[in-house]
């Protein structure tokens, strides 16, 4: 019977029922929508008179709803209606389990579609349209030609790139040599098929530091790590199979195509990471970023095996990366960071061979903000960029030295130097300005009134210089978060909406545990910010956010400042010397040229 009676069991609200009634009529049903504030007896009496096949009730308010609905079912039973109609209930507080418990044939919560209701009426199983939730990987560098819009800066960058490539061309390091071995001797497909590592480990340990060397010599592990047991691995496989079978992913961007939303993971444990990743994907994350422990960046070489780590940062090993990759949804972009330490080029090779979509490289940040010797960082990063180009792995050029206190124009000059070099080597760099309440902004009062103008200025400045993809991070809103989850989710969402209004290509967001230092990030805190961002995107849609005139003034100052920094680097005539002398961030500004890997660069024999 195509006759459906809809009745709000509510004193006021009937919007949900109106929307469903309209949808049913469009689908060819005859509907009768009763007004609000009728008694249960009046609704039942009408239903008996209408000879309807289906009665859909709604109840918006949650308080006391169960008692009210149970009474309705009792009355319908007593009146002989219950056996004649299919009885459904919808509303904010309604869930299918509750509806069934109360004696209804179907229950519909928030977000119910007309198709879902039609399936209920017709007695069919509801299968959501997979196209509605299907997501596909996006190459955020597509459509960018890296042409310069600022001729003066373009010319200076060309000269600096030539200077760096000339200096680095006959230099190598243990990191570069390990990457070469990983590139030439290690076949991921053979390794996955349990056919071994080829000749890799005959040569590899000799190029490693103490921790990996002890591991390869006698199986000794880093003290904060342990191997997974057989039962754990079997448990993971079962958990993954069960979860994947019921997984679906949300789209966060509402009516926009971008920005892609990335979250960072790295609890220390690949299993916990997989749990967090699945939750993040389900709540809409488009991409995930692998964080390794800080000691990993200061260690020459990787460990091997399936290892868990007791503190922040998930250890990079082939098995760990491979397991995490296997757990990802097909649509999820996977970034493995390579930017800061002694394993930069090998990280790129390993990540690429194991299916990564993106990496992260910046020799300026690695040398000034992450403790790696500038000469070593430049040599390794040049090799890493070449591998990123070879494996077609786009990478972001992060500017986290801003968090040390380096002014944005200096961090941006470094970022543009890396990006220019990358394009010349065939790479696809992505500019990553910070959306942050940086020390420069705090001390200089650049964000005294609002968090909009200076962040807008950053995007305007970069776009005035070059046509390149932009991915603010990392995470957006850095140093605006507190331990209050409401505040933290709010500031993330607002920064995300600003990024969306600026039509940038991607963003990295934090969890609401960003400012909490007492323990590991908890899974719900990841969902907090994804929910907040989704709500923000829904609120703004295609609407914009207006900066004040100050944004243009800041942007002009940034562009001028960048040009001055490039002049200073050129005047020095030696890039590494310029880094040491503070051209891209001085000690007074909080940038300290690193010492890890010092004196490990050697000249290659010809």
């Amino acid at each position: 019977m195509k006759n459906v009676l809809l009745a709000p069991l509510d004193p006021v609200h009937d919007i949900g029922l109106k929307m469903i009634a309209r949808g049913l009529e469009a689908a060819g049903y005859e509907t009768v929508l009763l007004p609000p504030d009728l008694t249960a007896e009046e609704i039942i009496h009408t239903a008996l008179g209408e000879k309807t096949g289906t009665l859909l009730l709604s109840r918006t308010l949650g308080y006391g709803v169960a008692e009210l609905l149970a009474r309705f079912v009792d009355l319908a039973d007593a009146a002989g209606l219950r056996s004649q109609v299919k009885l459904g209930i919808g509303g904010m507080a309604v869930r299918p389990e509750l509806a069934a418990e109360l004696g209804f044939d179907g229950g519909f919560g928030p977000g119910t579609t007309v198709e879902e209701v039609i399936c209920f009426i017709e007695g069919r199983e509801y299968c959501p349209d997979p196209a509605k939730t299907a997501k596909a990987k996006t190459d955020m560098t597509a459509g960018y030609d890296y042409r310069y819009r600022h001729a003066g800066i373009a010319s200076k960058l060309a000269d600096i790139s030539a200077m760096i490539l000339g200096w680095a061309k006959d230099k190598t390091s243990p990191g570069v040599e390990r990457a070469r071995l990983r590139d030439e001797l290690w076949d991921a497909a053979r390794w996955r098929a349990r056919q071994g590592d080829g000749e890799l480990y005959k040569h590899y340990p000799a190029l490693c530091g103490d921790i990996p060397r002890k591991y390869y010599a006698g199986g000794e592990l880093h003290p904060k790590t342990r191997r997974f047991g057989k039962g754990e691995v079997e448990g993971l496989e079962k958990y993954l199979a069960e979860t994947k079978a019921r997984m679906s992913v949300r789209k966060l961007q509402h009516s926009r195509r971008k920005p892609l939303v990335f979250v960072q993971y790295g609890t220390g444990c690949p299993f916990m990471d997989i749990g967090h990743i699945l939750a993040s994907e389900a709540w809409g994350a488009d991409g995930v970023v692998h964080f390794d422990p800080s000691w990993g960046a200061r260690t020459e070489g990787f460990l091997d095996g399936f290892l868990t780590h007791q503190e922040d940062g998930t250890v990079i090993t082939p098995a760990n990366l491979n397991r995490i990759h296997m757990g990802l949804e097909d649509s999820t972009l996977w970034q493995v960071r390579a930017h800061r330490g002694l394993n930069t080029p090998e990280t790129v090779v390993l990540a690429a061979k194991l299916g990564a979509d993106l990496t992260k490289i910046n020799f300026c940040y690695g040398a000034l903000g992450a403790g790696t010797d500038p000469a070593r960082m430049v040599v390794d990063a040049c090799a890493a960029i070449r591998y990123a180009a070879k494996y077609r792995l786009p990478f972001d050029v992060v500017t986290n030295e801003e968090l040390c206190g380096v002014p944005a124009h200096k961090a941006f000059a470094g970022m543009l130097i890396v990006a220019d070099l990358a394009v010349r080597l065939g790479g696809r760099p992505i500019l990553q300005p910070l959306f942050a309440y940086s020390p420069e902004a705090m001390i200089g009062g650049l964000m005294a009134d609002n968090y909009i103008d200076f962040n807008v200025a950053k995007i305007k400045a970069l776009r005035a210089i070059v046509n390149a993809p932009v991915w603010p991070g990392a995470p957006i809103g850095f140093l605006t978060h507190t331990e209050d989850r409401v505040q933290s989710a709010m500031t993330t969402a607002l920064h995300a909406c600003l990024a969306s209004a600026l039509e940038v290509d991607a963003i990295s967001i934090a969890s609401t545990d960003e400012a909490y230092s007492g323990g590991p990030i908890a899974a719900p805190s990841r969902i907090d910010t994804l929910r907040a961002v989704a709500e923000g995107f829904r609120f703004f849609g295609q609407a914009g956010i207006a900066a004040t005139a100050q944004a243009d003034r800041y942007a002009a100052e940034l562009v001028a400042g960048i040009e001055q920094v490039l002049d200073a680097v050129l005047a020095e005539g030696d890039f590494v010397a310029a880094v040491h002398k503070g051209a891209l961030g001085s000690r007074a500004e909080g940038a300290y040229p690193g010492r890890t890997g010092k004196d490990t660069v050697t000249t290659t024999k010809h």
Partner: protein
């Protein structure tokens, strides 16, 4: 550990408003509450005190990274005696 808490992925957060005279008192109340429920790895994530009392969120870690998670090891847990 109860069958219910072992299904928690990592941590249990509890948020409430305590009527009390200081932030410190509110923090202690939260830690006491979590401990009274049998949790040992507890902390206060956030507390904000104003005149009427404290808005406070406490956290009890059920698992930390590198622990053996019973939600993952339903079958093996009984055999291995996971912590």
């Amino acid at each position: 550990m109860s069958k219910i808490t072992e299904q928690i992925m990592d941590a249990l957060d509890v948020e409430t408003f305590f009527v009390c005279a200081s932030e410190e008192e509110g923090r202690n109340l939260m830690l006491g509450l979590l401990k009274s429920w049998g949790f040992t790895d507890v902390d206060v994530v956030f507390a904000q005190y104003e005149g009427p009392g404290v808005r406070v969120r406490g956290r009890a870690y059920v698992y930390r990274p590198a622990d053996k998670y019973r939600w993952l090891l339903k079958d093996a847990a009984a055999q291995e005696g996971c912590r």
